[in-house]
C-alpha cells in the first residue's frame, strides 16, 4: 500500500501544517503588531487609508521618546538590578535545596519538600498586603530593596521545585564512584553532580529572571518614587494614563522589554524545554 506523493502531501498539509499555521498566527500576531506599531510615527499610527498591517515609513521616534521624554533607561536599570540580584540569591538557595530534596535522605526531608511545594502554590495576591507590613517592620517599604527581599518568596519555591525534579533525573552512580575514590560528600556533589545539573540550573535561572523582570503587583505596591520604578511600572504609570495613551512609545517599550527574554530563550532553547519539562513532568 504505497501512498501516492499527492496523498502524502495532502496528509502533511492537514496534519500538522495547516492547523499549525493558524495556531501560530494567533499566538504570534500580537508580537508582530507590537513591533510594527513601535516603528510607526504618530501620523501613520492612526492612518488607516494605507494597509495598517505594514509600516510604510519606519521611524525610531518612539524609541527616541523613551530615552528623551521619559526615563526608560533608569527603569530598565532598576529592573535589571532587581532581577539579577534576586535570580542569583534564589538560584544559590534553590540549588542547595533542590539537591537536598532530591538526593539526601534524613528525617523530615519529605515533609520539608511538601512544605516548600505548598509555598510554591501560595499566590502573590494573598501575600501582598501582609508582606507590606513585614517590609515596613524591616524598613524597606517604598525602597527598591523591598523587591530584592520579596521576589525570592516566589522564586525560591519555584526554582527549588524545578531543580528537585531536575536533580532526580541525574544518575547518582557517578557521585557514588567519586566518593568511593575518596571524594567527600559535598565534594562529589559540587564536582560531579553540579556540572551535570547545569541545564536545569540555567533553565531555573532564566525563569527566575523572567519572573522578576515581569513582576507587576509587588513593584506597583511596595516601591514609590520616580527613580525607583521598574520597567513594567514605569511603562504603565508614565505612558498609559487614563486620558492619553502613548501607544507608539508603549509598544516600543514593550518590544525592548521582550527582546532580551526572547534572545536568551532562543539561545538556550534546548536546555530550556528539557529543564522545564523534567521539572514539571517528574517533579
Amino acid at each position: 500500500m504505497r501512498q501516492s506523493a499527492l496523498r502524502r502531501f495532502l496528509n502533511a498539509l492537514f496534519l500538522p501544517y495547516l492547523p499549525l499555521l493558524i495556531v501560530l498566527f494567533v499566538l504570534l500576531f500580537p508580537f508582530y503588531w507590537m513591533v510594527l506599531t513601535s516603528l510607526k510615527d504618530l501620523k501613520e499610527l492612526f492612518d488607516y487609508t494605507h494597509n495598517p498591517l505594514w509600516v510604510h515609513a519606519p521611524s525610531l521616534d518612539n524609541y527616541r521618546f523613551l530615552f528623551e521624554k521619559v526615563t526608560f533607561g533608569s527603569w530598565a536599570i532598576n529592573s535589571l538590578w532587581v532581577s539579577a540580584v534576586t535570580t542569583v540569591i534564589s538560584l544559590v538557595l534553590s540549588v542547595a535545596g533542590g539537591y537536598t530534596l532530591a538526593r539526601l535522605r534524613f528525617r523530615g526531608v519529605t515533609t520539608i519538600g511538601l512544605l516548600i511545594f505548598i509555598t510554591y502554590l501560595v499566590p502573590r495576591t494573598v501575600m501582598f498586603i501582609p508582606l507590606a507590613q513585614v517590609l515596613a517592620q524591616i524598613g524597606l517599604l517604598g525602597k527598591i530593596g523591598a523587591l530584592t527581599v520579596v521576589y525570592p518568596t516566589f522564586l525560591i519555591p519555584f526554582c527549588t521545585w524545578l531543580l528537585t525534579g531536575y536533580f532526580r533525573t541525574i544518575p547518582i552512580e557517578p557521585e557514588e564512584c567519586a566518593m568511593i575514590d575518596g571524594c567527600s560528600r559535598i565534594g562529589a556533589a559540587i564536582r560531579i553532580t553540579l556540572p551535570m545539573a547545569v541545564p536545569g540550573i540555567l533553565t531555573a535561572g532564566i525563569f527566575a529572571f523572567t519572573l522578576s523582570w515581569n513582576e507587576l503587583l509587588y513593584a506597583l505596591v511596595y516601591v514609590s518614587g520616580e527613580g525607583n520604578k521598574t520597567l513594567p511600572v514605569g511603562l504603565i504609570s508614565n505612558l498609559a494614563q487614563r486620558d492619553f495613551f502613548n501607544w507608539g512609545p508603549l509598544m516600543a517599550g514593550a518590544t525592548l522589554g521582550s527582546i532580551p527574554v526572547m534572545l536568551v530563550y532562543f539561545y538556550f532553547m534546548d536546555h530550556y524545554v528539557t529543564g522545564l519539562t523534567s521539572g514539571a513532568v517528574k517533579g
Binding site: P30, L104, L115, L121, P123, M127, V221, Y265
Partner: protein
C-alpha cells in the same frame, strides 16, 4: 534512586562510620543546605500569612493602628453584592480559562507529537507567548483590543466581516471573554509543551500493539496515551487553576475589573480595598476568602505529588 548515601559507606567497608554531626552523613548536610531557604520562607511567607489572618480580623487603615474587630470585615464583605459578583466572576474566569487551556493544550500537543519538517522551530515558536513577559504582551493585546483603534475591528471591517466594532473591553460579556481568551492564549503553550513531553514518554510499542488490535487514532489517544499522561495533566491543571484564580497582572492591565465590575476578580478586589480606599483589613479578608478554594486545590495537588514521589 534506590541507592542512597548510606550505600556509600556500605560500598566501601573500610571507611569508618562518620560521627552524627559530620557532613558526610545526609542529615546534617541536608539541614545545612535547606535551612537558609526554610528560614527565609518562614519569615517572608509563613509570618506574613499570620499577619494576613490578624489583619482580616482587624480594622486597619493605611498608616493607622490595628484594632481587633472579630469577623466584622467578613460580615461587611459578604453583605456586598460586589463580593458575590467577584466570586462568580472568578469561577467563570478560572473555569472557562482552564477548560480551553486543557482542551487546546491537548490538541496542540497531539498535533506536535509527530515527526515533520520544522518541528523544532514550530515547538519553539509555540512556546513564545508563555516566554515573553506577560506585562509586555498584555500591553500589545490592550492596544489590539482598544475600543477606538482595535486592529482586529479595523481589519474585520475592511474585509466586510463586521459592520460595527466588537466591544472587546467595553461590553461585560465581551470583556470577560477577552480576559479568558488572553489567559488561554498565554497558557495554552505551556499546557501543550508539558503534555507533549509527557506524550513522548508513552512507548511506541503500545501504539503499535493497539493499532494491530484495530484501534483507530481517536481510541489510541484516549485509551492508550491519555491514561498514561494523567498524572502530568492533573498537576499542570491544578497549578494553573491556582494561578488563574489568583490572577492579577493581566486583568489589572486590561480591564481593572470593569465594565461595572463585570471582570472583578479576587486579586483586583483585594487590591482595590487595600490601595484604592486604604482598607487593609477588608483587603486581607478578600484575599483570605480565596482560601477555601485554594485549600481544596492545594490538597489535591499535594495528594498527587505524594503519590508520585
Amino acid at each position: 534512586m534506590k541507592l542512597t548515601s548510606a550505600s556509600s559507606t556500605r560500598a566501601v567497608p573500610t571507611v569508618r562510620r562518620s560521627p552524627w554531626w559530620s557532613f558526610h552523613r545526609d542529615g546534617p548536610l541536608g539541614y545545612l543546605l535547606i535551612s537558609p531557604s526554610l528560614l527565609f520562607l518562614l519569615f517572608m511567607l509563613a509570618y506574613p500569612f499570620v499577619i494576613a489572618i490578624i489583619l482580616s480580623l482587624s480594622q486597619k487603615r493605611l498608616g493607622g493602628p490595628i484594632t481587633f474587630v472579630g469577623f466584622d470585615n467578613f460580615a461587611k464583605l459578604f453583605a456586598t453584592t460586589r463580593f458575590w459578583l467577584t466570586v462568580k466572576n472568578s469561577l467563570v474566569y478560572t473555569g472557562g480559562a482552564l477548560l480551553f487551556k486543557f482542551a487546546g493544550g491537548l490538541a496542540l500537543a497531539q498535533l506536535l507529537n509527530r515527526e515533520f519538517f520544522g518541528k523544532r522551530l514550530a515547538t519553539a515558536l509555540v512556546l513564545l507567548p508563555w516566554i515573553i513577559p506577560s506585562v509586555f504582551s498584555t500591553l500589545a493585546w490592550w492596544w489590539m483590543l482598544d475600543p477606538a483603534n482595535s486592529i482586529i475591528n479595523i481589519m474585520f471591517k475592511r474585509w466586510g466581516m463586521i459592520t460595527t466594532s466588537i466591544p472587546f473591553l467595553v461590553d461585560a460579556t465581551w470583556a470577560m471573554g477577552s480576559l479568558i481568551f488572553l489567559n488561554v492564549w498565554r497558557g495554552v503553550p505551556f499546557f501543550a509543551i508539558t503534555f507533549l513531553a509527557a506524550l513522548q514518554t508513552v512507548p511506541d510499542e503500545l501504539h503499535e500493539a493497539s493499532k494491530i488490535d484495530g484501534a483507530n487514532a481517536w481510541q489510541r489517544f484516549w485509551r492508550v496515551s491519555f491514561p498514561l499522561i494523567i498524572p502530568v495533566v492533573i498537576i499542570v491543571v491544578l497549578i494553573s487553576t491556582i494561578s488563574t484564580l489568583a490572577d492579577f497582572e493581566v486583568p489589572y492591565l486590561l480591564t481593572k475589573g470593569g465594565p461595572r465590575d463585570a471582570t472583578m476578580l479576587f486579586g483586583l478586589l483585594s487590591y482595590n480595598y487595600a490601595l484604592g480606599v486604604g482598607q487593609l483589613g477588608i483587603g486581607a479578608a478578600v484575599s483570605l476568602a480565596m482560601l477555601p478554594f485554594l485549600a481544596v486545590l492545594v490538597i489535591l495537588a499535594l495528594v498527587q505529588v505524594r503519590r508520585e514521589t
